[in-house]
Symmetry: C2
Subunit: 125 residues, 2 copies
DNA sequence: CGGTATCCTCGATGATACTG
DNA sequence: CAGTATCATCGAGGATACCG
Protein backbone atom coordinates (compact mmCIF):
# COMPACT_ATOMS: atom_id res chain seq x y z
CA UNK A 1 0.00 0.00 0.00
CA UNK A 2 1.99 2.98 -1.23
CA UNK A 3 1.78 6.20 0.71
CA UNK A 4 1.60 9.05 -1.76
CA UNK A 5 2.14 12.71 -1.12
CA UNK A 6 -0.78 13.49 -3.42
CA UNK A 7 -3.19 15.41 -1.25
CA UNK A 8 -6.14 13.64 -2.86
CA UNK A 9 -4.98 10.25 -1.64
CA UNK A 10 -4.29 11.24 1.97
CA UNK A 11 -5.88 8.38 3.86
CA UNK A 12 -4.70 9.65 7.20
CA UNK A 13 -7.78 11.85 7.33
CA UNK A 14 -10.37 9.03 7.42
CA UNK A 15 -8.48 7.48 10.32
CA UNK A 16 -8.34 10.84 12.04
CA UNK A 17 -12.06 11.35 11.64
CA UNK A 18 -12.72 8.31 13.80
CA UNK A 19 -10.71 9.49 16.77
CA UNK A 20 -11.07 13.26 16.69
CA UNK A 21 -13.74 14.59 18.93
CA UNK A 22 -13.09 15.78 22.43
CA UNK A 23 -13.89 12.42 24.02
CA UNK A 24 -13.52 9.79 21.33
CA UNK A 25 -10.05 8.49 21.97
CA UNK A 26 -10.82 8.31 25.69
CA UNK A 27 -14.00 6.38 24.97
CA UNK A 28 -12.11 4.04 22.67
CA UNK A 29 -9.28 3.46 25.15
CA UNK A 30 -11.72 2.85 27.97
CA UNK A 31 -13.69 0.31 25.95
CA UNK A 32 -10.46 -1.32 24.83
CA UNK A 33 -9.32 -1.84 28.40
CA UNK A 34 -12.50 -2.49 30.27
CA UNK A 35 -14.62 -4.17 27.60
CA UNK A 36 -18.38 -3.80 27.76
CA UNK A 37 -19.70 -0.73 29.58
CA UNK A 38 -23.10 0.61 30.43
CA UNK A 39 -23.89 4.19 29.46
CA UNK A 40 -23.58 5.34 33.06
CA UNK A 41 -20.27 3.53 33.50
CA UNK A 42 -18.84 5.42 30.55
CA UNK A 43 -20.21 8.63 31.95
CA UNK A 44 -18.42 8.06 35.25
CA UNK A 45 -15.23 7.07 33.46
CA UNK A 46 -15.21 10.38 31.60
CA UNK A 47 -15.47 13.14 34.21
CA UNK A 48 -17.01 16.28 32.77
CA UNK A 49 -18.77 14.75 29.80
CA UNK A 50 -22.48 15.48 29.43
CA UNK A 51 -25.07 12.88 28.46
CA UNK A 52 -25.58 14.69 25.21
CA UNK A 53 -21.92 14.59 24.22
CA UNK A 54 -21.55 10.97 25.28
CA UNK A 55 -24.58 10.03 23.23
CA UNK A 56 -23.37 11.99 20.22
CA UNK A 57 -19.89 10.53 20.23
CA UNK A 58 -21.12 6.98 20.79
CA UNK A 59 -23.67 7.29 17.99
CA UNK A 60 -20.98 8.48 15.61
CA UNK A 61 -18.70 5.61 16.52
CA UNK A 62 -21.62 3.24 16.13
CA UNK A 63 -22.43 4.52 12.64
CA UNK A 64 -18.80 3.91 11.72
CA UNK A 65 -18.99 0.31 12.86
CA UNK A 66 -16.47 0.91 15.65
CA UNK A 67 -18.82 0.60 18.61
CA UNK A 68 -21.66 -1.80 19.25
CA UNK A 69 -24.80 -0.71 21.12
CA UNK A 70 -27.03 -3.26 22.82
CA UNK A 71 -30.34 -2.23 24.35
CA UNK A 72 -32.00 -4.44 26.95
CA UNK A 73 -35.77 -3.89 26.84
CA UNK A 74 -36.17 -3.70 30.60
CA UNK A 75 -37.18 -1.12 33.17
CA UNK A 76 -35.11 0.76 34.14
CA UNK A 77 -33.34 0.85 30.77
CA UNK A 78 -30.00 -0.85 30.34
CA UNK A 79 -27.75 -0.12 27.38
CA UNK A 80 -24.35 -1.66 26.88
CA UNK A 81 -21.54 -0.42 24.69
CA UNK A 82 -18.53 -2.34 23.45
CA UNK A 83 -16.05 -2.26 20.60
CA UNK A 84 -16.89 -4.25 17.49
CA UNK A 85 -14.26 -6.71 16.26
CA UNK A 86 -13.54 -4.16 13.54
CA UNK A 87 -13.26 -1.42 16.16
CA UNK A 88 -10.58 -3.43 17.90
CA UNK A 89 -8.38 -3.16 14.80
CA UNK A 90 -7.81 0.41 15.97
CA UNK A 91 -5.81 -0.85 18.95
CA UNK A 92 -2.35 -0.86 17.31
CA UNK A 93 -3.03 2.58 15.85
CA UNK A 94 -4.06 3.99 19.22
CA UNK A 95 -1.14 2.29 20.92
CA UNK A 96 1.36 3.78 18.48
CA UNK A 97 -0.17 7.22 18.88
CA UNK A 98 -0.11 6.82 22.66
CA UNK A 99 3.57 5.95 22.58
CA UNK A 100 4.49 8.77 20.25
CA UNK A 101 2.36 11.09 22.37
CA UNK A 102 4.18 10.10 25.56
CA UNK A 103 7.53 10.77 23.90
CA UNK A 104 6.21 14.06 22.61
CA UNK A 105 5.06 15.27 26.02
CA UNK A 106 8.53 14.48 27.35
CA UNK A 107 10.17 16.18 24.34
CA UNK A 108 8.16 19.35 24.94
CA UNK A 109 8.95 19.24 28.67
CA UNK A 110 12.68 19.15 27.99
CA UNK A 111 12.42 21.88 25.36
CA UNK A 112 10.53 24.09 27.82
CA UNK A 113 13.17 23.42 30.49
CA UNK A 114 15.89 24.51 28.08
CA UNK A 115 14.07 27.76 27.44
CA UNK A 116 13.73 28.42 31.16
CA UNK A 117 17.36 27.57 31.84
CA UNK A 118 18.44 29.94 29.09
CA UNK A 119 16.26 32.71 30.46
CA UNK A 120 17.79 32.20 33.91
CA UNK A 121 21.36 32.23 32.56
CA UNK A 122 20.63 35.31 30.48
CA UNK A 123 19.12 37.22 33.40
CA UNK A 124 22.04 36.32 35.68
CA UNK A 125 24.39 37.80 33.14
CA UNK B 1 5.27 2.14 28.33
CA UNK B 2 1.97 0.88 29.70
CA UNK B 3 -1.22 2.08 28.07
CA UNK B 4 -3.72 2.82 30.79
CA UNK B 5 -7.42 3.34 30.43
CA UNK B 6 -7.24 6.17 32.96
CA UNK B 7 -8.56 9.15 31.08
CA UNK B 8 -5.95 11.37 32.73
CA UNK B 9 -3.09 9.45 31.16
CA UNK B 10 -4.47 9.39 27.63
CA UNK B 11 -1.41 10.33 25.61
CA UNK B 12 -3.15 9.81 22.31
CA UNK B 13 -4.45 13.36 22.58
CA UNK B 14 -1.05 15.10 22.42
CA UNK B 15 -0.25 13.13 19.28
CA UNK B 16 -3.62 14.06 17.84
CA UNK B 17 -3.07 17.72 18.54
CA UNK B 18 -0.11 17.72 16.18
CA UNK B 19 -1.99 16.38 13.19
CA UNK B 20 -5.50 17.74 13.61
CA UNK B 21 -6.19 20.83 11.65
CA UNK B 22 -7.72 20.82 8.24
CA UNK B 23 -4.38 20.84 6.43
CA UNK B 24 -1.80 19.55 8.87
CA UNK B 25 -1.53 15.91 7.90
CA UNK B 26 -1.38 16.90 4.23
CA UNK B 27 1.38 19.38 4.98
CA UNK B 28 3.25 16.74 6.96
CA UNK B 29 2.89 14.08 4.28
CA UNK B 30 3.96 16.49 1.58
CA UNK B 31 7.05 17.53 3.50
CA UNK B 32 7.81 13.89 4.28
CA UNK B 33 7.76 12.94 0.62
CA UNK B 34 9.16 15.99 -1.09
CA UNK B 35 11.51 17.36 1.56
CA UNK B 36 12.20 21.08 1.68
CA UNK B 37 9.51 23.31 0.19
CA UNK B 38 9.12 27.01 -0.33
CA UNK B 39 5.96 28.65 0.97
CA UNK B 40 4.57 28.97 -2.54
CA UNK B 41 5.34 25.34 -3.33
CA UNK B 42 3.32 24.22 -0.33
CA UNK B 43 0.53 26.54 -1.37
CA UNK B 44 0.37 24.93 -4.81
CA UNK B 45 0.56 21.44 -3.33
CA UNK B 46 -2.52 22.17 -1.20
CA UNK B 47 -5.25 23.38 -3.55
CA UNK B 48 -7.73 25.59 -1.78
CA UNK B 49 -5.58 26.64 1.17
CA UNK B 50 -5.24 30.34 1.83
CA UNK B 51 -1.98 32.04 2.75
CA UNK B 52 -3.39 32.75 6.16
CA UNK B 53 -4.24 29.13 6.90
CA UNK B 54 -0.94 27.88 5.53
CA UNK B 55 0.92 30.37 7.70
CA UNK B 56 -1.12 29.48 10.77
CA UNK B 57 -0.69 25.74 10.42
CA UNK B 58 3.03 26.01 9.65
CA UNK B 59 3.62 28.29 12.62
CA UNK B 60 1.87 25.85 14.92
CA UNK B 61 3.95 22.95 13.63
CA UNK B 62 7.06 25.09 14.02
CA UNK B 63 6.26 25.91 17.65
CA UNK B 64 5.91 22.19 18.27
CA UNK B 65 9.36 21.50 16.85
CA UNK B 66 7.91 19.49 13.96
CA UNK B 67 8.65 21.91 11.15
CA UNK B 68 11.71 24.04 10.51
CA UNK B 69 11.42 27.50 8.95
CA UNK B 70 14.38 29.08 7.19
CA UNK B 71 14.18 32.66 5.97
CA UNK B 72 16.62 33.89 3.32
CA UNK B 73 17.15 37.65 3.71
CA UNK B 74 16.83 38.42 0.02
CA UNK B 75 14.44 40.28 -2.24
CA UNK B 76 12.02 38.90 -3.20
CA UNK B 77 11.68 36.92 0.04
CA UNK B 78 12.43 33.21 0.11
CA UNK B 79 11.27 31.00 2.94
CA UNK B 80 11.85 27.29 3.10
CA UNK B 81 10.01 24.75 5.21
CA UNK B 82 11.10 21.25 6.09
CA UNK B 83 10.52 18.65 8.77
CA UNK B 84 12.85 18.66 11.74
CA UNK B 85 14.57 15.36 12.60
CA UNK B 86 12.09 15.12 15.46
CA UNK B 87 9.23 15.81 13.06
CA UNK B 88 10.31 12.86 10.99
CA UNK B 89 9.66 10.56 13.95
CA UNK B 90 6.00 11.06 13.04
CA UNK B 91 6.48 9.06 9.85
CA UNK B 92 5.65 5.59 11.24
CA UNK B 93 2.61 7.05 13.02
CA UNK B 94 1.33 8.70 9.86
CA UNK B 95 2.07 5.58 7.83
CA UNK B 96 0.10 3.37 10.21
CA UNK B 97 -2.81 5.81 10.21
CA UNK B 98 -2.69 5.95 6.42
CA UNK B 99 -2.84 2.18 6.19
CA UNK B 100 -5.66 1.84 8.69
CA UNK B 101 -7.44 4.69 6.92
CA UNK B 102 -7.20 2.94 3.56
CA UNK B 103 -8.64 -0.24 5.04
CA UNK B 104 -11.35 1.80 6.70
CA UNK B 105 -12.43 3.50 3.49
CA UNK B 106 -12.70 0.06 1.89
CA UNK B 107 -14.58 -1.30 4.92
CA UNK B 108 -17.12 1.52 4.72
CA UNK B 109 -17.50 1.06 0.96
CA UNK B 110 -18.37 -2.62 1.40
CA UNK B 111 -20.73 -1.85 4.26
CA UNK B 112 -22.50 0.76 2.12
CA UNK B 113 -22.77 -1.74 -0.71
CA UNK B 114 -24.41 -4.26 1.60
CA UNK B 115 -26.97 -1.67 2.62
CA UNK B 116 -27.77 -0.88 -1.00
CA UNK B 117 -28.01 -4.56 -1.95
CA UNK B 118 -30.38 -5.16 0.94
CA UNK B 119 -32.54 -2.21 -0.05
CA UNK B 120 -32.72 -3.56 -3.61
CA UNK B 121 -33.63 -7.09 -2.45
CA UNK B 122 -36.24 -5.72 -0.09
CA UNK B 123 -37.85 -3.51 -2.72
CA UNK B 124 -37.99 -6.39 -5.22
CA UNK B 125 -39.88 -8.43 -2.69
C1' DC C 1 -31.47 4.88 33.39
C1' DG C 2 -30.53 6.58 29.22
C1' DG C 3 -31.56 9.42 26.70
C1' DT C 4 -33.87 14.28 23.65
C1' DA C 5 -34.82 19.11 22.85
C1' DT C 6 -33.33 23.89 22.97
C1' DC C 7 -30.54 27.42 23.14
C1' DC C 8 -25.90 29.36 23.40
C1' DT C 9 -20.80 30.18 23.10
C1' DC C 10 -16.52 30.28 21.02
C1' DG C 11 -12.71 28.98 18.29
C1' DA C 12 -11.28 27.03 13.81
C1' DT C 13 -11.55 28.29 9.33
C1' DG C 14 -12.36 31.38 5.39
C1' DA C 15 -12.71 35.84 2.30
C1' DT C 16 -10.61 39.72 1.21
C1' DA C 17 -7.53 43.51 1.16
C1' DC C 18 -3.18 45.46 2.20
C1' DT C 19 2.34 45.35 2.85
C1' DG C 20 7.71 45.16 3.25
C1' DC D 1 7.16 36.27 -2.41
C1' DA D 2 5.53 35.64 1.82
C1' DG D 3 3.25 37.19 4.54
C1' DT D 4 -0.37 40.36 8.14
C1' DA D 5 -4.89 42.63 9.31
C1' DT D 6 -9.73 42.59 9.59
C1' DC D 7 -14.09 40.84 9.50
C1' DA D 8 -17.42 37.06 8.84
C1' DT D 9 -19.19 32.26 9.20
C1' DC D 10 -20.25 27.90 10.90
C1' DG D 11 -20.31 23.85 13.49
C1' DA D 12 -18.36 21.33 17.58
C1' DG D 13 -19.17 21.39 22.00
C1' DG D 14 -21.70 22.82 26.35
C1' DA D 15 -25.72 24.20 29.82
C1' DT D 16 -29.94 23.13 31.08
C1' DA D 17 -34.40 21.19 31.23
C1' DC D 18 -37.55 17.69 30.12
C1' DC D 19 -39.05 12.59 28.89
C1' DG D 20 -40.39 7.31 28.44
Amino acid sequence: MPVSSDAESCQVQPALEIIVGKWKCKILLHLLFTGTNRFSELQHALPGITKKMLTTQLRELESQDIVQRVVYPIVPPKVEYSLTPYGRTLEPVLKMMHEWGSTHVEHMRIKQQEIETYALTASKG
